[in-house]
Symmetry: C2
Subunit: 260 residues, 2 copies
């Protein structure tokens, strides 16, 4: 645990919020789950407990009962934020919902509390639009589903986000076992969703052109490049593919062909 950070507020307790809650709870943090109704929260706690058990059963965490005991819930945003040292937001993806929420959270928390958004669809510069006090502590921390199992978290600072906010978020993400990647520039879809989208478009095109079925295309990815991409990214893959000549060989010999 990071010194001085004891309590984390998970604003929004859906699929993503539950994943965050499980990760923070198994790593020793007190977690407050916040959402609109008690019914939603009851289900969220049940699923979070399930994720905690999954992590413990996989040998990735200890003490399921202690972790579950660290979960609290509230329907009040003010109560959720009142003693939180870090806020991770995972609400419905709509600027009409998110912008006023950040304006409220900006008002309801001390200036040094970092506000992180799980958004996959928006950039922090847009989300922080109406933050009047301290937009410099707001940052995107976009996780991948299932949040408690896939380690990638993309950190995308907005136009006003400070380096201190980036550094703190990086540290707390590593502290809960995540693999944070920092974007140098805001871009729609961040890194991983953009890369996934181009792969999907080509996959759909192969099916469309009658080259192979949906199932066969998926099977090809799973049994081939997927295995390599789980170990290394595309650049390193091609660099190794070039043998002794590395990526320079690849670029010289097949780079141009591939670009067509």
């Amino acid at each position: 645990m990071i010194e001085g950070i004891k309590r984390v507020a998970c604003v929004g307790s859906g699929l993503v919020g539950q994943g965050w809650a499980a990760l923070f709870a198994v790593n020793g943090y007190e977690v407050v789950l916040q959402d609109l109704t008690e019914e939603i929260l009851a289900e969220a706690v049940e699923r979070t407990a399930h994720h905690i058990n999954t992590l413990v059963n996989a040998g990735l965490a200890k003490g399921p009962d202690e972790a579950v005991a660290r979960l609290r819930t509230t329907t009040s945003l003010e109560e959720a934020l009142s003693d939180a040292n870090f806020v991770i937001e995972s609400v419905f993806e709509s600027l009409e919902v998110i912008c006023p929420l950040y304006e409220d959270m900006d008002r309801l928390t001390p200036a040094d509390v970092v506000l992180a958004s799980s958004t996959s669809g928006f950039m922090m510069s847009d989300i922080a639009r109406d933050m009047k006090l301290h937009p410099e502590r707001a940052i995107v921390a976009h996780p991948w589903n299932p949040v408690h199992l896939v380690p990638l978290v993309e950190l995308s600072p907005g136009g006003k986000t400070t380096q201190g906010t980036v550094d703190f978020t990086y540290r707390i993400m590593e502290d809960i076992g995540r693999v944070p990647v920092v974007l140098k520039k805001e871009v729609l879809g961040f890194i991983a969703n953009r890369l996934s989208a181009v792969l999907w478009r080509e996959a759909l095109d192969l099916v469309d052109q009658g080259v192979a079925s949906v199932e066969e295309v998926d099977k090809a990815i799973r049994a081939g490049p997927g295995i390599r991409w789980a170990i290394m990214g595309p650049h390193l893959t091609y660099h190794l593919g070039g043998g002794k000549g590395g990526i320079e060989y690849i670029m010289r010999h097949i780079g141009v062909k591939k670009a067509k």
Copy 2:
């Protein structure tokens, strides 16, 4: 082992041929490695033995000594083919080299011996151009590096390849623990290299646009989508991403945005 198939000729004993040799040898087949010089073959046998040990150490095969004892070598194509029941070719990728080779192999083997090519760059309709006798038994069986570890094999029949050739190659690939995928139509790069190429292009573009460094893009793939792609392909990933609504939900809500 498939009934009646005892001996496999690996024509070309480089990186790819060594992988094939290891796979066939650990699965009980007699293997003849063929190449231009004794020096090349001596190194090939050494590396094949190394791959065999890797497979045994990983618990993927038994009896390293027996498997190594099943390897033979020859610099004579005629000798390599004389008693082979299946031929897997992995020579230098050039039609000037490959086309005459298939013409020779067509002449030197009985009509019922399947000739499979590891090529990643050519289509069987081009490779089989000069086969005068039995082009119907020639097929592409494109593996992924490292051949002895990554299970995908893409089967791409040429214009004259019969269904019997496809079926036999599918069976022998499954018999040596591979995951074969059959293309319905010849296309440059087959399935997996086309998908890899689009991912790489987008990865290079992200670096080019200053969004993230080479290392960060690779890290993002490795820690995020790569893990999912090793378990399932892009279609299933998006189908699950749609929640209860499945891929239809995704298509309706973000499909159009992603297509831009």
